[in-house]
Amino acid sequence: MLFVCVATLSLSCVEEDTISGGPNSSIMDMVPENKKQTGAGVFTSYAHDLSGKASLFCGDDDNKAIRFEDFNMLAGPDVYVFISKSNNYSKANAIEVAKLPSGYMDSDINFDFKSQGLTSDHKFVLVYCVQYNSLFGFAELE
């Protein structure tokens, strides 16, 4: 009975926002060239101390870029950047932009991606842990 209680309590203590670790990166990318900023927003944070701003840059071709500025995030497993039609994650509404392999401190980062499937309805940038179905934060591009 004691074993059962301990097992139950130990499982109950595992929360996605306590899963962190790994090195933090500090990146200083320059503002994307030959592209124009078409939207920007500040992150609303839900996990991993995420903070910063997100912007969408578009050029004359199909190449787009999402730029994070003053970006902070504790490292997590299987974390991706998505551009989405809604502030919540769903496969139907989100386009994968990049994977975040580490934590970040005060970083300016550019993520280049192809605009295939992108529409004017994609107004939200999500930082999402796919493995644990956990939204770290989102920014609405205005």
């Binding site: 009975m1 059962v4 097992a7 139950t8 499982l11 109950s12 595992v14 929360e15 996605e16 839900y46 809604s86 502030n87 919540n88 994650y89 769903s90 496969k91 139907a92 509404n93 644990y132 179905n133 956990s134 939204l135 989102f138």
Partner: protein
Amino acid sequence: MIFMRNLILLILFLPGCPLLMYAQSSETKRYRDQHYFDLAVAGASERFSTALSWSHLHGIGKKKQKLQIGYGLRFTTFVAGNKYYTTAPAEYTSDVQGIGTIFSETIEENIDTITTATTLTFSLNLALYIQYTLTPKIDVGCNIDVIGFSFGPTKTFNVISSVYDAGQAPVQRASPTAFNLLLTSDNDIGSLNSEFYARYKFNSKFSVRVGYAFLFSEYETEDSLSFDEGRIVNDRYRYKASMGFVGVTFKPF
């Protein structure tokens, strides 16, 4: 899974409830009244439960009383990792309400999903039991929770529906639905446990059970969530867990 659960209901609620039919023989009274204290542990991929129960069974018939029916109390703890909780109310999941829900198909376009890293629910329910003695050493039986209450820590869930209406937070807080009630299929409310089992009796006091457990775990969001431009507004979400289990029983009388 749903079929097995409904089969338990059918068996327990056969016409002419046998609970009212046992003879008042003093010679067999002691044989008839069975008190079981049981601890069962169930598990499968990323889900685990424990069930501590007391049950009181009555033998049916004048002589051998191989068939026993009774009631009991069960305290279930359920832990799950990374599971999808989906729309619970039958008014959304089924185009047929009431007992007809048992036979109806799920309306997939009405199913919305929330998820979190770990869930933990505690449930205390009154349960119904039925058991048949196959041989002096072996019983088979089933049981199902009927009514009770649940509690547990509030968790943060992520909404992962593609038709989640704008203007709502993508992350919501939810707690185990407080009230549990067996109504049939998706009409059920709250967290309910049920089992099919076989029992092997080592002696008159100790036995072991093995079998299949089917458990509903339900959470209620603090705010009702709106989907598909307000067509669905719902705050109850359910996960259905199928697990194998092992239990040990002590029968003191």
